[in-house]
């Protein structure tokens, strides 16, 4: 993206490390004068992408790579882990009616990222998983 400001980081697998990325995102967004409601939604996307990646990251390289590219118009979020990957189409879309009464209440991350973003892509293979999210900011 032309004129984008970028932030790249490698996050170790330690509790609440996603808050570091959130803090960085917040600073970029305020620097560009992004509206608070858009920042809030971007924080949800980043949080879900990182906790998903940390959960699936491998033992040999448990770190998660995160990159933000932001302009006043849009934010691109890249989150990459180096775990064993998974088949995205095999993940069941959660439904609150099914979750109530079920023991497993989790599994909302992909649905939230797909619904709250303006474009969502996931590439996964045995070398890891890469999530690319676009969020319009105006």
């Amino acid at each position: 993206m032309k004129d984008a400001i970028t932030l790249k980081m490698s996050l170790p697998k330690i509790p609440n490390i996603e808050l570091v990325a959130i803090e960085g995102l917040d600073r970029l967004a305020h620097h560009l004068g992004i509206m608070e409601d858009k920042i809030g939604e971007a924080k949800v996307l980043v949080t879900e992408a990182i906790i998903n990646a940390l959960e699936h990251s491998g033992e040999s390289d448990p770190a998660v790579r995160v990159e933000f590219s932001m302009t006043k118009q849009e934010l691109i979020i890249l989150v990459r882990d180096f775990g064993k990957g998974f088949e995205p189409s095999s993940i069941e879309v959660p439904n609150i009616h099914d979750k109530l009464g079920s023991k497993d209440k989790r599994g909302w991350g992909l649905k939230l990222m797909k619904t709250m973003s303006d474009d969502f892509r996931i590439e996964s293979n045995k070398q890891g998983t890469k999530i690319t999210i676009k969020k319009l900011l105006h």
Binding site: P15, E18, I22, K99
Partner: protein, 116 residues
Amino acid sequence: MEQQFSLSSEVRNNCLVITTTGYVNNVGGEAIAKEFARHFEGGTKKVIINLAQSKVVNSIGMSFLIDIVDQLNDAGGKMVFTNLDPAIHKMLSIMGLFQFAGKANTVDDALKELSA
């Protein structure tokens, strides 16, 4: 940066009001669930979750709240969320939680709703 999670609780008009501060993740969600369980065992079936001081949550933390909603539904009780940040409101809407839990602007509004 978002503060470390903590919570406080009080019982008002027979309703349990849980007020959180900081990031509601798996640890925060579990802490809310434990606080709820303590009162639920004593017969409390109306719960208000006040997220005024929590601006970041994640879906794992929210899964604990779905479990509370589940237990309250089975017991004929109700949960109401208050002081929701717009992004958290959108998140809970996407999850479909407002089909089974209420929402109010303030704790006082929630108390009125639960006493109606």
